[in-house]
């Protein structure tokens, strides 16, 4: 892209000999520096499907922390520029969509320090928190894949603030560079795709494994008995 811009801007001048040699060298150096110091900003798709599962008959409060809502991963990758991957709003949409399908009713509530102020009758309060985000690019792994790992910690509280269960949720997504033509810019769309797949993976695992935690199973049993 930069090379194309360079040619379109200065190609005519070079062809007609109007650009002196020193200026030509300076322009080439500038192009190389700009290419090397590139920064990549990634926004992740926010559309997730509804889960095809039987909803748990519970009224759940959900708290999304500011950290989760505004989460952006910034990293400097040696010789590959700086990366900024904004995941906050996508993971908010993902949890919102999956929880709406998993429980008969969900309501957004304030954080654990303000549980006492909640007046709506709830069966439990769920708090997802992003703990770690890592990604790798083909230049680092020598594979054709852009990969993303996300680790969440999920906490389920009683409305009184007492913890019912706390467990980690790990997610993984990868995007194959072979799926993009050589004329296509790969960096942003591939990381975007790997992150989107990781978020779907988190949602899928969360939905299917939720009832398998022993404490959660007991809580669901108590809920069904009451």
């Amino acid at each position: 892209m930069i090379v194309r811009l360079f040619i379109s801007a200065f190609g005519e001048a070079i062809r007609h000999g109007r650009l002196p040699a020193q200026k030509y060298c300076l322009l080439v150096c500038w192009t190389i520096i700009v290419t090397a110091c590139s920064s990549t900003s990634v926004q992740v798709d926010k559309i997730f499907p509804s889960p095809l599962i039987v909803p748990i008959p519970a009224h759940i409060g959900v708290h999304f922390s500011d950290k989760l809502l505004n989460f952006t991963h910034d990293e400097e990758v040696e010789a590959n520029g700086s990366w900024s991957i904004a995941v906050g709003s996508a993971q908010h949409s993902m949890f919102d969509q999956i929880l709406s399908g998993m429980f008969v009713d969900t309501t957004q509530v304030p954080g654990p320090d303000k549980f006492a102020s909640i007046t709506i009758p709830l069966d439990a309060i769920l708090v997802p928190e992003v703990i770690d985000f890592q990604f790798s690019i083909p230049a680092q792994t020598r594979t054709p894949f852009y990969e993303v790992w996300i680790k969440y910690e999920i906490s389920l509280y009683k409305p009184s603030g007492e913890i019912i269960a706390q467990w980690p949720l790990t997610a993984y997504g990868k995007a194959n560079t072979d799926n993009y033509s050589f004329l296509q810019r790969t960096r942003e769309p591939a990381v975007q795709e790997a992150t989107r797949i990781a978020l779907r993976d988190a949602a899928a695992f969360f939905a299917l494994r939720f009832g398998r935690e022993a404490e959660i199973r007991n809580w669901i049993t108590q809920l069904e008995e009451s």
């Binding site: 899928a204 695992f205 299917l208």
Partner: protein
């Protein structure tokens, strides 16, 4: 004169190298598809797999099957995984047809499959890899002149296998493998002349044609 200048590179670009394709089939059950039923073609994306089936290959099989199918539909992979979310994601999809009957006991899954009319799930595994290469070519471009000199050759091998699962019976109906290989060349005498062996396309055509016959029980 101008026509020749334009036509020669275009003619050279259309040159294709030879590709040999081998398609094999193993049938485990009788097949057949009714009017209004459909097939879904899926690429395997397991976490552990170092090589992954290219989306272009899955799309190619999908397109060829859509064009050749008469009387049955082909559901796009994304539409299918979204409709059955979270059951067919890379880490949650059944790895073996033996897992299918248990999955079909879930009333919601069985109902959704009936709703979208999917009769067969076709899982595609494999990839196209460069197995050998030789030669060198250097290109030089200066203001007012450019040219390439040298000779390049490489051999590509496309190996794919399709597993066909019958959703109605919860069993594996069979497997079809398609193996294509060919050697491509680029000769550079000022103008580079590529002679490309389209192995992935050949493997896709072989697999799709056989898959269509297999589903319709014509083999």
């Amino acid at each position: 004169m101008y026509f020749r200048i334009i036509a020669l590179p275009l003619y050279l670009l259309t040159l294709v190298a030879c590709v040999s394709t081998n398609v094999e089939q193993v049938r485990q059950a009788s097949t057949g598809i009714s009017l209004g039923e459909s097939v879904v073609v899926m690429g395997r994306k397991n976490r552990s797999s170092v090589s992954e089936t290219e989306e272009a290959f899955v799309a190619c099989v999908n397109n060829k099957l859509s064009r050749s199918s008469t009387g049955y539909g082909v559901v796009p992979q994304k539409e299918f995984t979204d409709a059955l979310f979270p059951w067919f994601e890379p880490r949650t999809a059944p790895l073996d047809s033996a897992e299918l009957p248990k999955m079909l006991t879930e009333p919601l899954i069985a109902a959704r499959l009936r709703e979208i009319g999917v009769h067969y799930i076709v899982w595609i595994q494999g990839s196209t890899d460069r197995v050998d290469q030789a030669g060198a070519m250097s290109c030089v471009a200066t203001i007012g002149a450019a040219g390439c000199f040298g000779f390049l050759t490489w051999e590509n091998d496309a190996t794919y296998e399709a597993s066909i699962w019958d959703v109605q019976t919860g069993t594996s109906a069979g497997n079809i493998s398609s193996d294509a290989n060919g050697t491509s060349f680029v000769t550079g005498v000022v103008v580079p002349i590529p002679i490309i062996a389209r192995v992935q396309s050949a493997a896709c055509t072989g697999l799709s044609n056989q898959l269509n016959s297999f589903i319709r029980d014509e083999t």
